[in-house]
């Protein structure tokens, strides 16, 4: 009985794990778009950031603790000095040391890891 129930649950769990997460964001015209190859390319962008501060436009910052997730992930990047967040504007300002060679992809990954959606990066 016990093994049977565990096997049933394990099979269902495996089926769930096989379902890929679907991630969407809303465009200004109201349409929903799934995570695009461009978004994925941004995560792999190895272009170093040469100016500071950098402005990240982020979506889904629905509560104070969600936002702290971004702070934590950004602070783990060597060379990031400080991040400040305007939740209503969806703006994350990142002060960093350009000499550290932080890439745009690293900033994008920090936002992605925090569970939010990066709309764009302003700054070179």
């Amino acid at each position: 009985m016990q093994l049977h129930a565990i096997a049933r649950a394990a099979a269902l769990a495996a089926a769930l794990a096989a379902i890929p997460a679907c991630e969407y964001t809303q465009c200004e015209d109201g349409t929903l778009v799934q995570k695009t190859p461009t978004d994925l390319a941004l995560l792999k962008d190895t272009t170093p950031v040469t100016t500071s501060p950098v402005l990240l436009h982020v979506k889904g910052m629905s509560c104070p603790k969600c936002v702290t997730n971004v702070d934590i992930q950004l602070a783990r990047i060597p060379g990031v000095k400080k991040s400040s967040i305007d939740m209503a504007a969806g703006a994350v300002t990142v002060e960093l040391d350009p000499a550290k060679g932080i890439t745009r992809g690293a900033l994008a990954k920090a936002v992605d890891d925090s569970g939010l959606t990066l709309a764009s990066i302003e700054g070179k």
Binding site: A9, E23, L32, P64, D86, G115, T117
Partner: protein, 274 residues
């Protein structure tokens, strides 16, 4: 005395990050390497409706922790500790003293994320885990009970809606035990929450804290026919690294016979993000 499992299940609320009500698990989760801990203390009183019914009080302390493993994947655990004084004419149903409950461990997976704008979001996640028989003093089940669940969190401006359902496959063989999870009945636990952000009206640079009013409705159904429905209000204060909550639950309807009926449950909790 199948009210107790309901209390145990209610105590096993989630520990996500976003605008999460006290008893309704949210679909959100911390990022990789980020920890969230949640400590809840709740007290419940019971009254007896039959000759073998149970009356008294039960205090439950839940210590929960969750850590992000990868983007959209987290693992969480909960170990409850009970202290109670529950009396009954049936000696097998009497409980007095302190004991551990069942350890619960599960993995949470993000299934859907839609970020509409800077604030608004919709998340759906699934959980798969198991209850481990670590209980002592009559507070835990004697079996490994796997469970599957799902949660939805929708935040639109100052409003937040949460839905959650969890099905527990009960592998226990005991008949008429203290806790429902000691029977051979499977259990469905559904919960629904609504949060209204009282303050701030609008977020900004200077607003990184928030107050919410919350109301929750919970239902528990077991395949042996037992059922319970409760409802209650609460408050949630959320800062950047911590949150404080206080909530009560009142029974609306219970299909119980010869066991304790819950009178009132009050809960206070703290959550930390680090």
């Amino acid at each position: 005395m199948r009210t107790l499992p309901a209390i145990a299940a209610l105590g096993a609320a989630g520990i996500a990050c976003a605008q999460e009500a006290s008893f309704t698990p949210a679909a959100t989760m911390p990022g990789p390497g980020t920890w969230v801990s949640h400590v809840m203390v709740q007290g419940s009183t019971f009254f007896s409706t039959g000759p073998e019914g149970v009356s008294g009080y039960l205090i439950q302390e839940n210590t929960m922790a969750m850590v992000g493993l990868a983007p959209g994947v987290a693992i969480e655990g909960n170990l409850p500790v009970f202290n109670g004084s529950l009396g009954s004419s049936d000696p097998s149903k009497r409980i007095l003293g302190t004991g551990l409950g069942n350890l619960e461990v599960d993995v949470k997976l993000r299934l859907l994320k839609i970020d509409f704008n800077a604030i608004d979001t919709l998340r759906v996640s699934a959980t798969a885990g198991t209850q481990v028989p670590t209980g002592t003093g009559g507070y835990g089940a004697d079996s490994v009970n796997p469970f599957l669940g799902s949660a939805m969190t929708w935040i639109a401006g100052r409003h937040g809606v949460g839905l959650s359902a969890r099905w527990m496959f009960n592998t226990g063989e005991t008949f008429d035990p203290t806790f429902a999870t000691q029977t051979n009945a499977d259990m469905l636990h559904c919960s629904m929450s609504y949060l209204y952000r009282v303050a701030p009206e609008e977020y900004g640079h200077e607003h990184r804290e928030a107050w919410y009013f919350q109301t929750e409705m919970q239902g528990i159904y077991e395949t042996d026919g037992s059922a319970q429905w409760s409802i209650g209000p609460g408050i949630l204060m959320e800062g950047t690294r911590f949150a404080f909550e206080f909530a009560i639950q009142l029974p609306v309807w219970e299909s119980s016979y010869n066991r304790g009926n819950s009178n009132f449950t009050a809960m206070a909790g703290l959550r930390f993000l680090f």
